[in-house]
């Protein structure tokens, strides 16, 4: 019996793909199990999804090739976003860009920006948005 392998990836959906049944195709056509851990996708908007895909190696490879062929980019989830605290000025420019609520001003008196790593989906949108280069992607 062939071994089941699994992979955690971050999928980036361009807005022209948000209406397509991509996850359903992965399951039906390639016999894969897809476990969605986080997602933020709206109609006509770019979106990001963190998924764990598992199945037979050749099915998994074929499924990932399908994603590539239709123009979806994805990254392994081992990449994490980190904040360089000495660069952050707590301006809050990132908070309206972060899709998962990982960068947030919780205390409206202190106005400090919190980075909640557990909520981060490593989409990387905050990295170019931060004027002070306080956010970075690390392996």
């Amino acid at each position: 019996m062939k071994r089941i392998v699994s992979k955690n990836i971050i999928l980036h959906y361009p807005k022209e793909h948000t209406e397509k049944p991509i996850i359903s195709n992965l399951i039906k056509r390639y016999d894969l199990t897809v476990n969605i851990s986080r997602a933020r996708i709206g109609q006509d908007e770019e979106g990001t999804m963190v998924i764990e895909i598992s199945g037979k190696r050749e099915n998994l490879d074929a499924g990932l090739n399908y994603l590539k062929d239709i123009g979806l980019s994805f990254k392994p989830v081992s990449l994490v976003v980190q904040r360089l605290d000495e660069r952050c000025t707590h301006c809050s420019a990132c908070t309206v860009i972060c899709p998962s609520g990982a960068l947030i001003v919780e205390d409206r008196r202190s106005m400090e920006v919190k980075f909640i790593q557990d909520k981060c989906i490593a989409c990387g949108l905050c990295i170019p948005t931060c004027p002070y280069k306080a956010m970075e992607m690390r392996d």
């Binding site: 707590h90 301006c91 420019a93 908070t95 309206v96 202190s110 400090e112 004027p131 280069k133």
Partner: protein, 403 residues
């Protein structure tokens, strides 16, 4: 009873002055009333930290051997203006390297520019100086390449033509695509609203008619000491104001100067605005002497008293149409969401309120230690009744025909 600046300074020298920040004074006035506050409190400190374009620095390198009259100069690849003398240059915060792809790959990332050169100098780093000239009998050298450091420069001072804007636009995007502006990334269809002011902590909201802040005022600038040297460019004091004399749009500005050798990179930072360009973020703090009850009235300003205009940066702003969608208060902006055209819109700031608070606290500590005296302004900047306005540029021919 009115106090003089001399009396306040005498108390500062004796370390007996009572100093509160522009945030701390609000509950104090509510508790004790205006009259008692005017007699109890000597100084209120303000602060702001934000990207401030119209910033830059004059640098003097000293003369090389043989001498050179620098015509063109680059610092870490960023051009500094050399048309001043032999070895003086002015490095502007928004200049980018000539080989920067800018927005050719849209949106450009603008990783390094004049603001970053200024930050690197203040950090004490070696900065590559390249220069070119045509050569003269008294200045024969035509090319130069060397490294310079802040400590080696004869003079290095920030001279920022326009900082500390009194009120500013709230930027939104009514179009259907993402836009990249100097007020940050704006999501389509009113996706977010970005603002940039320290509100109740901001210097010119606490002295809205420029009664104590003027030419010669000593200030906190970038972690060191600086001075207000002139009205800022685009100073526009004659705009509409509310009953507290607070302008309801961009109004007063200050031109400030300070020695870079005493500054800190905590308060002077290079800035990269996605799709827009490079700039400099800077901390400014200004002390306001509580001379009398009128000044207490001014420094008691709260976020709910200050309204900012909401402007569409996808069309009205670039096309220079003076269309204000609505006004929103800094209280609402600071809450994280504002209502615009019936929609609840998330709000975020380019200006750092925690840094503004830290600057006001730092300036307060300097005054309490007796290390920072208050200045009497040497001359006033144009006031609300000056009639001075901020004119647009008319495109015309030499004969005066409009283009």
């Amino acid at each position: 009873m009115a106090k003089s600046i001399q009396e306040i300074n005498e108390r500062i020298r004796q370390q007996k002055a009572v100093v509160l920040t522009a945030e701390e004074i609000i509950p104090y006035i509510e508790k004790h009333g205006q009259r008692k506050t005017a007699s109890d409190v000597d100084v209120v400190t303000t602060g702001t930290f934000s990207p401030m374009c119209s910033s830059g620095a004059f640098l003097n390198f000293g003369h090389s051997t043989p001498r050179m009259k620098i015509q063109k100069a680059w610092l870490n690849g960023v051009e500094a203006y050399g048309g001043l003398a032999a070895c003086d240059v002015y490095i502007g915060a928004t200049q980018i390297p000539e080989d920067d792809p800018a927005n050719k790959i849209y949106p450009g990332s603008f990783d390094y520019g004049g603001g970053h050169v200024i930050e690197d100098l203040i950090a004490g780093k070696d900065v590559l100086l390249r220069a070119r000239s045509y050569g003269t009998d008294c200045y024969p050298r035509k090319e130069l390449e060397t490294y310079v450091r802040l400590e080696e420069l004869n003079q290095a001072f920030l001279l920022n033509p326009r900082n500390a804007y009194q009120n500013y636009n709230v930027a939104v995007n009514l179009s259907g695509r993402v836009i990249y502006t100097y007020l940050g990334v704006l999501q389509p269809n009113l996706g977010n609203a970005n603002f940039s002011s320290a509100g109740q902590l901001s210097p010119l909201f606490n002295d809205p008619l420029y009664r104590t802040i003027g030419i010669g005022t000593r200030i906190f600038l970038g972690g060191g000491i600086g001075y207000v040297v002139w009205e800022g460019t685009q100073h526009n004091p004659s705009v509409e104001r509310n009953s507290r004399s607070i302008p309801t749009e961009g109004a007063g500005t200050l031109c400030v100067l300070g020695d870079m050798k005493h500054m800190s990179t905590r308060y002077v930072r290079g800035v990269s605005m996605l799709g827009y360009g490079a700039s400099l973020a800077l901390g400014i703090g200004i002390p306001i002497p509580l001379l009398d009850e009128e000044m207490v009235g001014f420094v008691g300003v709260r976020e709910e008293d200050i309204l900012a205009p909401v402007i569409d940066y996808s069309s009205a702003y670039p096309e220079r149409r003076s269309e204000i969608i609505t006004h929103v208060s800094y209280q609402n902006l600071r809450s994280g969401s504002v209502e615009i055209l019936g929609k609840k819109v998330p709000a975020s700031s380019l200006s750092s309120y925690p840094m503004a608070r830290e600057i006001a606290q730092t300036l307060k500590s300097w005054i309490l230690k007796g290390a920072f005296l208050i200045t009497e302004k040497v001359a006033s900047i144009p006031g609300a009744d000056s009639g001075q306005t901020f004119r647009p540029l008319q495109m015309r021919t030499e004969r005066g025909d409009l283009r």
